[in-house]
């Protein structure tokens, strides 16, 4: 497959300033909404099911099916809510940032289509607190939209800013936070479709998922499903960062080869260095070795390698990087962001950091490598939400794929890379709040 961008969500951004309503309407904006409103809610759901669209936040759940779980108003008379997960916080992902900043109206149009589909009058956009820039752009676009009752209809859109918590990207933690509480995940079931915001039927969708709806309604679900590959239809905004010449967001057809993403669109590895590893879908995903990138960037192809597209954050690491140092930084991230509700995650991520630090400093003995994997195993599947589990799976994959490097830390009594690795001694927030103590 050629390494050409395929603009569906970002269509028109190269020619026009789509943050302005007039320019968005000039390229046919909000026509999909009018078309959707001419259809019954069920017909819109069927169209989205036909498109085979799957959630772009990371879980990849079929969007149309998620909507179909929502009770009809005669089955549950409580208000129905559309909640947007705009709490993008996954290390490596910055696509929703750009979508909100560049196609805010396509995003809002998607929100209004979703509201029609589940018969909701209220949309809440939970946008991460740090995203001041995108928030200001959304505010401007929303002001334009609110001045146009013909477009907005009787639907109210509220922008709700988060306050700094990765966990609020987990949908039930997000709902807790939106209800004004500490952002700790709920037990499931009940799922949000049945009891979500204020215990009412709720659909929680990602920004990119919603921004994909107008083109789907416009071209028809069946037409959209011609793009991409089986189980991964359509396009995806892929965030490429780390050791590449041209980092950035690229919208590509699903199934494009990962090698083409890194060496084609990404421009390859700077300084003529070798590619050592790739985080394929944000920090939560199993790492790939540099020689594992001849794979389609789609659900099934990556699943064969035991990993995932996640939130489509591709991070390239060259051969100067120490994988133990990478483990420390990733583990510190999850330790900092653990909400503290489940003990295996709260304590386990901290233990992982401590063992990794001992490996890096050369204090660890060989058996601590097994201890590290044991701690990971004791987090897996034992928590309410995937936060701790993804930390464990990611770090365990570094050990599995770069075991010789971890053993070298023990054998040499320290890091073979030391200061030459760019991840050496990086100060993480968790180390500022509570310095990791090393057990005697």
């Amino acid at each position: 497959m050629a390494t050409e961008p395929r603009l569906i969500v970002m269509a028109g951004t190269e020619e026009s300033d789509l943050t302005r309503l007039a320019e968005y309407e000039a390229i046919g904006g909000y026509r999909a909404l009018q078309k959707a409103r001419g259809l019954t809610p069920q017909a819109v759901i069927d169209e989205v099911i036909a498109s085979e669209l799957r959630g772009r936040g990371g879980a990849f759940f079929p969007t149309g099916r998620k909507w179909a779980f929502v009770p009809k108003p005669d089955q549950n008379p409580n208000p129905h809510y559309v909640v947007v997960n705009a709490d993008e916080s996954e290390p490596g992902s910055f696509k929703d940032n750009e979508i909100m900043a560049r196609v805010p109206h396509r995003f809002f149009e998607g929100c209004l289509i979703a509201a029609h589909a589940i018969e909701s009058k209220n949309v809440f956009v939970y946008i991460r607190g740090e995203y001041t820039g995108p928030h200001e752009i959304l505010l401007g676009a929303l002001k334009e939209l609110e001045a146009r009752p013909d477009l907005r209809g009787d639907v109210t859109i509220v922008l709700h800013r988060g306050a700094g918590a990765y966990i609020c990207g987990e949908e039930t933690a997000l709902l807790e936070s939106l209800e004004g509480k500490r952002g700790q995940p709920r037990t499931k079931p009940p799922f949000p479709a049945i009891q979500g915001l204020y215990a009412s039927p709720t659909v929680v969708n990602n920004v990119e998922t919603l921004a994909t709806l107008p083109p789907i309604i416009e071209m028809g679900g069946a037409e959209y499903a011609k793009l991409g590959v089986p189980d991964s239809r359509g396009t995806r905004l892929v965030s490429i960062s780390g050791h590449v010449e041209r980092p950035g967001n690229y919208e590509i057809e699903n199934g494009t080869s990962l090698r083409d993403l890194i060496y084609g669109l990404g421009g390859g590895i700077p300084g003529g260095r070798a590619l050592k590893a790739v985080i394929p879908g944000g920090s939560s995903t199993v790492i790939l070795k540099g020689d594992e990138i001849d794979v389609g960037y789609d659900f099934n192809s990556l699943l064969k390698l035991n990993t995932a597209m996640g939130s489509a954050g591709v991070v390239a690491l060259d051969d100067s990087c120490c994988m133990v140092q990478l483990g420390i930084r990733i583990s510190e991230f999850y330790e900092h962001e653990s909400c503290g509700k489940c003990t295996p995650c709260r304590e386990g991520t901290r233990w992982m950091t401590q063992i990794l630090r001992r490996l890096e400093s050369g204090e660890a003995v060989q058996s601590e490598l097994d201890l590290l994997l044991d701690v990971c195993d004791r987090i897996n599947g034992k928590c309410l939400c995937p936060l701790g589990e993804t930390a464990a799976v990611a770090v365990a994959s570094y050990v599995e794929k770069f075991r010789a490097e971890f053993i070298a830390h023990v054998d040499q009594g320290g890091c073979p890379f030391g200061e030459s690795s760019p991840l050496h001694d990086v100060l993480a927030p968790v180390a500022v709040h509570a310095p990791a103590t090393v057990p005697a």
Partner: protein, 155 residues
Amino acid sequence: MSTYDDAVQEIKARYPDWRSAALPALRLAQEQHGYLSPEALRECAEALGTTPAFCEAVASFYDMLHLAPIGRHMVEVCTNVSCALAGAQQVLENFEQELGIRAGETTEDGEVTLRPIECLGGCGWATVVSVDHHYRTHVKPEDVPAIVQELRNGD
């Protein structure tokens, strides 16, 4: 009624349940008081119709809400993987040197707080530094003195 109370009542009206106004109300109180002092929490609680303890319990969960004094300016350097690969640690250390403080501290004159922060969602534009909650992208270690000067000039 105070203007803060008016603002909170207006925020509450956007939601079916008053509790949803907690985060925006706390953010606003922090903006007005500099940080969430006991007095700010009391004022917030009164406007929401709840207790200061509820407000403090919520606030203590979130990274952007501060229960201890912070500087008038906030400099946050992303040190997660993508920014670290682009040299974020050197950017952070240059800020430490230029400001004469360690990361996590506030300058003695109470002007600037410096801290590392988790992924800001700008990995392709590394290093990302959030200065008073507005992103500076592609920040290089040598850009630091100018940013600090800008803050000292009160721009």
